[in-house]
């Protein structure tokens, strides 16, 4: 293996001891050796997509130290390697949840209704960049960005339009929002309240994972510590008031998209999870009061077996960490429940129909790995947000896997594969080595402040890019099997009328609402922010008064300050 393919650190790729049996030795000498002499292999070293060495052959001796009850367990039993449910997809297939959001709340509302009509079983909302950064659609920095990468939501009025006509007690809604998650969640709760839904019954997920923002996605507003306080406030408020809500989706997806290896994705995500647990417990809530509602979100990349091993290892590690390290007693606290999205970064702008095939392989990995919900990317997403036609093919891909492939007929079908079990074990060990390094740095917040995960990911991303440029990593249609082509697909274009429409609505809102009530609630929020009170009730009051997202974030920016990443060197 050339250095460039060795994307992981030595910690990741450390080979584990393998004692060949007598029959293996005989096979290697009498069968393999002559074959290699006449027909050499395609390359000297084979690795996973993340650069982990892969052997020619895996045999029972690779699993000598694997104990079924201790390391796998039956489905629904500790350590949950085989799945968190006893019957898995025989009982119910995963939730098909296509992430969507673009343009105005009216546009996205229409798309959400369309997706439900096509048989989608959960909703997932993408917000535009101004919303993610806590700016209203009429802010100067929002220029050119309103409705482009998701839907624009600046106030409760926008949220009312966005959710119009949706049965909030029946569907579960996932919202990809982080820095201003508490505010957007409060808007959702306020709409649910007004529609008469019972907050004890509604369910859904707010991504609300600020640590991976500093690590990878970079949509942060406030510094890490006050940001963590907001996360803790939402977890605590959720546990008490909205018990079926998943207040956080601890995400490896973006870490992988930023160029990490599979092990880095897993290690940083689970360590982030542990960091949240530690902060909430320090805030005074017992782990079993909130941990059953923690959820995770992983990427599904091209290397099928590496991905399956990652999901299986994720469940085992989380169960062990929560039980042994944190001391959680409730078995539900040990469960790593996760959503999966196929890898956006694997999509190619060239020959876009090939992306349907990539997405299928990735979706298979997620299903073979036991995911609870899945988003499949659309073939046109290297260019733009998907068209309705493209998103339908993506959803149909999941339906074909669920209902035609037969994969869902048995639980954890790859268990017992010498290769998959070995890879699962190696993934767990490499992940734990990262835990040790992060613990030594003083935990995840400290590691982030020192730039540790950021640098590890950047190095892996750069090594991969070099491998691609040397054609050691092949990307079909990009660096090999290239054809001259005109782009054969139509892509979705968001026009600037969305921004104008949003600005007009905001102007009206600011005129029509009770501005003295808005002021009073914002002042109450500001003073609560300087204490250690839970901010959710204050945010809810501001939301109900139709204070805008930007106004509330401005208050918090004044109290908390803003974060700038240490300069990149």
């Amino acid at each position: 293996m050339s250095d460039s393919r060795k994307m992981g650190t030595e910690h990741e790729t450390e080979p584990s001891a393998h004692q060949p049996s007598a029959s293996e030795t005989r096979w290697a000498e009498t069968v393999l050796k002559p074959a290699l002499g006449s027909a050499p292999e395609r390359k000297e070293q084979f690795t996973t997509l993340s650069g982990v060495p892969v052997e020619r052959l895996y045999t029972p001796s690779d699993l000598a130290d694997l104990e079924y009850a201790r390391d796998l367990g039956d489905p629904g039993e500790y350590p949950f390697t085989r799945g968190i449910h006893r019957t898995m997809y025989r009982g119910r297939v995963w939730t098909m949840r296509q992430f969507s959001g673009f343009g105005s709340p009216e546009d996205t509302n229409q798309r959400l209704h369309y997706l439900l009509k096509q048989g989608q079983t959960g909703l997932s909302i993408a917000f535009d960049l101004p919303t993610l950064m806590g700016y209203d659609s009429d802010h100067a920095l929002a220029e050119g960005e309103v409705g482009k990468c998701g839907v624009a939501v600046s106030s409760l009025a926008d949220m009312e339009t966005l959710l119009g006509g949706l049965p909030l007690e029946q569907v579960t809604t996932s919202m990809t929002i982080n820095s201003p998650a508490a505010i957007i969640w409060a808007m959702y709760l306020a709409v649910a309240e007004k529609s008469g839904a019972d907050l004890k019954k509604i369910s859904g997920t707010t991504q609300n994972d600020i640590l991976k923002e500093y690590i990878a996605q970079k949509e942060y507003i406030f510094p890490p510590k006050p940001s963590m306080r907001l996360v803790v406030d939402t977890i605590v408020y959720g546990a008490r008031e909205v018990p079926r809500w998943n207040p956080i989706s601890i995400s490896g997806y973006h870490i992988r998209e930023a160029g990490s290896t599979a092990v880095q994705e897993l290690a940083f995500t689970l360590r982030d999870g542990l960091e949240y647990v530690e902060w909430v417990v320090r805030g005074g809530m017992g782990v079993d009061e909130f941990a059953p509602r923690l959820s995770f979100f992983f990427n599904a990349h091209n290397d099928l077996f590496e991905e399956v091993a990652k999901y299986r290892a994720a469940r085992r590690i989380w169960a062990r960490v929560m039980r042994e390290r944190v001391g959680a007693q409730n078995p539900r606290s040990w469960l790593c429940r996760f959503h999966t999205q196929t890898a956006g970064c694997s999509l190619t702008a060239q020959q876009p129909y090939n992306n349907v095939v990539r997405t299928t392989i990735q979706a298979l990995a997620a299903v073979l790995g036991g995911t609870q919900s899945l988003h499949t990317n659309s073939l046109d997403e290297a260019w733009a947000l998907p068209t309705e036609e493209a998103v339908t093919i993506a959803l149909r891909t999941q339906q074909v896997i669920a209902h035609e492939s037969g994969i869902t007929n048995t639980v954890d079908p790859l268990a017992g594969s010498y290769f998959v079990e070995k890879l699962t074990q190696e993934t767990e060990r490499a992940c734990c080595r990262y835990f040790d390094r992060i613990d030594a740095l003083g935990g995840m917040v400290a590691a982030i402040e020192k730039g540790f995960p950021q640098k590890e990911i950047h190095d892996a991303a750069y090594a991969y890019q070099q491998a691609v440029e040397r054609k050691e990593a092949v990307i079909v249609g990009v660096n090999d099997f290239v054809t001259e082509e005109e782009r054969p697909i139509t892509i979705l274009v968001i026009d600037e009328n969305v921004a104008r429409h949003q600005r007009q609505k905001l102007e009206q809102l600011r005129k029509q609402r009770d501005n003295s009530r808005v002021q009073a609630t914002l002042e109450a929020l500001a003073s609560a922010a300087t204490t250690d009170a839970n901010l959710m009730p204050y945010i809810l009051e501001s939301v109900r008064a139709y204070a805008t997202l930007g106004e509330m974030c401005d208050v918090l920016r004044r109290v908390f300050g803003t974060y700038e990443e240490p300069a990149f060197r």
């Binding site: 960049l129 700016y135 929002a142 960005e145 970079k218 949509e219 702008a349 750069y462 892509i491």
Partner: protein, 131 residues
């Protein structure tokens, strides 16, 4: 121009935080022997042009993936002209559909690198076109 290393400003305008591409290109330019100043995230066109002026750069590389290029890039071109900096080589990389390229080039962009472009192509273009 041969007695001085090429100086490049790599900039990430707009609200988007996806900096994988910008950082990889910055590192590749550095590995190719150029001096690279990376602005960090969320730079306004004004900040980018003022950094270019202060750092006396030969080229600016703009990384943009959010679809906001049609608003942001022409504004940068306008400000560069206003400062008399139109000699600076301006290249753009990211998710820019084919149909938007003529408009950007007309505004003053020398080249647009779309998804799948290699760092080798970018290095080569800058080396050949910096005056």
């Amino acid at each position: 121009m041969t007695d001085r290393r090429i100086r490049v400003l790599v900039a990430k305008p707009g609200l988007d935080g996806h900096d994988r591409g910008a950082k990889i290109v910055a590192r590749a330019l550095r590995d190719a022997g150029m001096e690279v100043i990376y602005t960090g995230l969320r730079q306004t066109p004004e900040m980018i042009v003022s950094a270019a002026l202060q750092e006396d750069v030969d080229a600016i590389g703009i990384s943009i993936l959010s679809g906001a290029h049609r608003t942001i890039v022409p504004r940068i071109c306008e400000l560069l002209r206003a400062e008399g900096l139109e000699d600076i080589l301006l290249v753009v990389g990211g998710i820019v559909p084919d149909e938007d390229i003529p408009e950007l080039k007309k505004a003053g962009v020398a080249e647009v690198f779309q998804p799948g472009a290699s760092t080798g192509q970018i290095v080569d273009f800058i080396q050949r076109h910096v005056r």
